[in-house]
């Protein structure tokens, strides 16, 4: 099982995305890369910020993985939250859209586009919970 948020975890996430009929349908017209910024929390064994990157194109993911900050910041869309918030999302304990409304999950990018694809965005984040995951603070 991959550890979140490592490159191996993002590769498993990409497999999950590409296996999802729901995501393929919801994001059929989507064109744009997304970065997931997992903000450091040293006290729970995440000492540095981690940028995950997904090249999303018409309902599939063409590639991605852990990238450096510069590459992550160049993504059209950035979803950011501290590690423990991402863990809540992965465990299904925080709805991502509700988290956005509460300011627990921040989003950067063209908001009208994100709003038009809210079902795809929701499905994408929900798929994070389908990846069998080891959490560094539980090892």
């Amino acid at each position: 099982m991959p550890t979140f948020p490592t490159d191996a975890w993002f590769q498993a996430f990409i497999v999950s995305i590409n296996g999802s009929d729901e995501y393929r349908a919801a994001a059929a017209d989507w064109e744009g890369d997304i970065a997931f910024l997992v903000q450091a929390e040293p006290d729970v064994h995440v000492p540095d910020d981690v940028w995950g990157y997904l090249d999303l194109w018409h309902g599939t993911c063409r590639g991605g993985g852990v990238v450096d900050r510069g590459a992550g910041e160049r993504a059209a869309y950035v979803l950011s939250a501290p590690y423990t918030r991402w863990k809540d999302i992965l465990l299904g304990e925080l709805d991502p859209i509700k988290g956005m409304m509460q300011g627990k999950l921040k989003v950067r990018g063209d908001l009208p586009t994100i709003v038009r694809y809210v079902r795809a965005a929701n499905e994408l984040v929900r798929l994070t919970g389908e990846v069998e995951t080891v959490f560094p603070d539980e090892v």
Binding site: I97, K98, M101, Q102, K106, L111, P112, T113, V118, N122
Partner: protein, 137 residues
């Protein structure tokens, strides 16, 4: 209430305020003709997240502020996801388009009261201007 855009910021706005403020700003950049009239004060509540935001005309354009406005003539209440689906629905004459699947879904949510709009009938003009202002289309 603490201010969002168009005012001096005294604290970081809540997530819903940052989101609606960003949406309004980006929509106005795309289409500067979108506007509210002077009395168009509106509150939007994400009931599942227990957060709210108010939108009101201001001297410089439109202000988006945290919290409920007691003078709001229209109050939109729904879950976080339903609010975004409302903003993402195609419009016809300022209301969800019955000729599109997404528009019909929103109308179904209105009829089933999954999306509640207080003041919908009495202030239909305000509702139309609000939906156009927030529309992601």
């Amino acid at each position: 209430m603490s201010p969002g855009s168009g005012s001096e910021s005294v604290a970081e706005p809540s997530g819903i305020t940052a989101l609606i403020d960003g949406l309004v700003r980006q929509n106005l950049r795309r289409d500067p003709t979108r506007r509210l009239l002077r009395a168009d004060v509106v509150t939007i509540e994400a009931v599942d997240a227990d957060v709210s935001v108010s939108i009101l005309p201001s001297d410089g354009g439109i202000a988006v502020v945290d919290g409920r406005d007691p003078g709001a003539r229209v109050v939109v209440s729904a879950s976080s996801t339903k609010l975004l689906e409302l903003a993402g629905a195609p419009l016809r004459f300022g209301l969800p388009d019955v000729f599109s699947r997404a528009g019909r879904a929103v109308i179904g949510d209105l009829l089933a009261r999954r999306i509640r709009v207080r003041g919908l009938v009495r202030h239909l003009g305000t509702v139309r201007r609000l939906t156009v202002l927030l529309s992601a289309r």
